[in-house]
């Protein structure tokens, strides 16, 4: 019978925060450098996932026993789904008119 082993590397507060910060940074770098509207949308989702990881990690180590951080992360996921629906709808409207989703090509308004 395999017996349960103690974890080799217990996951600490720092691990969770680093993962969250890394995801957030990757997301923001993608959102600022990519030119495809759908890739930007995906990068924003990665940013949101970074904040979710941060919230859940803080909730695990919070001195207060409430679950506000975990509940917050559920709300973020729900809103992210709504956001994707709105965003893709607008991207489809843009694609129908211009046959491209590159934000560089969407430049009718100066500025």
């Amino acid at each position: 019978m395999p017996q349960e082993l103690p974890p080799l590397y217990p996951i600490s507060l720092q691990h969770g925060l680093l993962l969250g910060a890394a995801l957030f940074s990757i997301g923001i770098a993608g959102a600022l450098t990519r030119r495809n509207a759908i890739t930007i949308l995906m990068s924003i989702e990665v940013m949101l996932n970074g904040t979710i990881v941060t919230f859940v990690t803080f909730a695990r180590y919070a001195p207060t026993a409430d679950l506000a951080g975990q509940i917050f992360s559920i709300f973020i996921m729900t809103v992210a789904a709504a956001e994707a629906a709105v965003g893709l709808a607008i991207v489809i409207a843009v694609y129908r008119l211009r046959h491209t989703v590159s934000v560089d090509a969407v430049d009718t308004l100066q500025g």
């Binding site: 925060l17 969250g20 957030f24 997301g27 923001i28 959102a31 509207a37 930007i40 949308l41 924003i44 940013m47 949101l48 970074g50 904040t51 941060t54 919230f55 990690t57 803080f58 919070a62 001195p63 207060t64 409430d66 506000a68 951080g69 509940i71 917050f72 709300f75 973020i76 809103v79 709504a82 956001e83 709105v86 965003g87 709808a89 607008i90 991207v91 409207a93 843009v94 008119l97 211009r98 934000v103 969407v106 430049d107 009718t108 308004l109 500025g111």
Partner: protein
Amino acid sequence: MNFNLVLLMPEIALTSAAGLAILVDAFSPRGLSRRFLLWIAGGGIAISAALALRLLGTNTSAFNGAIAVDDYAVFFKLLFLAATLLVLLAADTFMEETRHRAEFVGLLLLATTGLMLLAAAMDLITLYISIEISSLSIAFLSAWDKRGLRSTEAGLKYFLLSAMSSAVLLYGMALLYGLTGHTRLDLIATQIGQGPNAALFLALAMLLAGFGFKVSAVPFQMWTPDVYEGAPLPITAFLSVASKAAGFAATVRVLQIALPTSQTDWTVLVAALAAATMTVGNIVALVQTNMKRMLAYSSIAQAGYVLVGVAAASQLGVSAVMFYLLAYTATNLAAFIACIAIFNLTDSEQIGDLRGLRWRSPWLAFALAVSLLSLAGLPPFVGFFAKLYVFWAAADRGLLWLVLVGVVNSAVSLYYYAQVIHDMYITGIGGGEPGVGDPVTTLGPRRPSPGLSTALTLAVIGVLVFGVLSGFFFGIGDVAARTVAR
């Protein structure tokens, strides 16, 4: 625990009106008429305002401290409801021409609901959800003309930048939660210690970046001119007053209630934002030739003046901010509604095409001139008193350099506002009476619709009355400010 639904009735009434408009339209064979929709929306707004007025003086919180029901929130709720009513009235030509007008009205009411909740949010979760309710509705409304290149582009830009800024805001909230273990603003304040703290400063900067997008403060203002130019004009008017005022309402509440102990940190940050916002907004506005873009940069500059009041961080500062937002809402609505009427007549958005407007439409020229003079801050209009209170509050806290920047900026702004008035009143073609070939005299005979005229009249009356009775309205803001400022 307090799950008293009565405290949430204004929002419930407005949401019901939005649902009613969309549902009844879906089940009626030929779609609802514009007049009928206006009655539903107007009824919803009136009921909501009456219910909000009944909550005046309650000063409690609902839903386990997630939503504040205080005079500060009620003040802003009434402001948003009034602004939405004027926007709906001004949108009647637009609604006549657009399809899906029930959804247009419904989304506008839902956006207002989100803004009302934003002004009342006492918990980071409520704050985030209400920002998203309003942002997603506004993104759809900006992209309303889905066969228009400019409108869809405005919608895409607003959506991408609002999603990115709310992700940054969320990370700031996550840091704040990690530092304190709470998401309620009043509990956060109890856990934050004195003294410098790098993580807290980062959280503060990220929160200000998120709110800075909503109020279009420099350097988060890139979307503003494009979205203002591309979105349908009634939506631009809504965006420039209600959405901006809600952003300020939430900023002030978070800074005053959750972060009073790190006031020295955020005063510096907000003052720097204010100086940059005023200066960039005014200087770029000088060179604009498109009326919508000029008003967009002017609204960025106006956000800078409000930030001066936020930086003042006192009860006087909060009441000055509230009075400024009241004044700005009336004034900017008057300017935008006058522009809607003028653009309906001329089909041109160029400032140069306003030449000789006083001969063609004296009333529209007068309304636009009054609102521009008020935006520039000339007495006896309300904009003058609003600026006076804001600068007074800042000087009271020793931010004299910021007051100086503000006063210089006001002088600069007078140039581009006066330029428009000069075009309307003094220049005809060849400097005299408008002759053949004058863009304004070659127009068709269309007159502003009744809804548009009513909205414009109400907004101009607001500019004049708020100006004459500025002490009285400042007093109202002062009483309401006591519920958040310390």
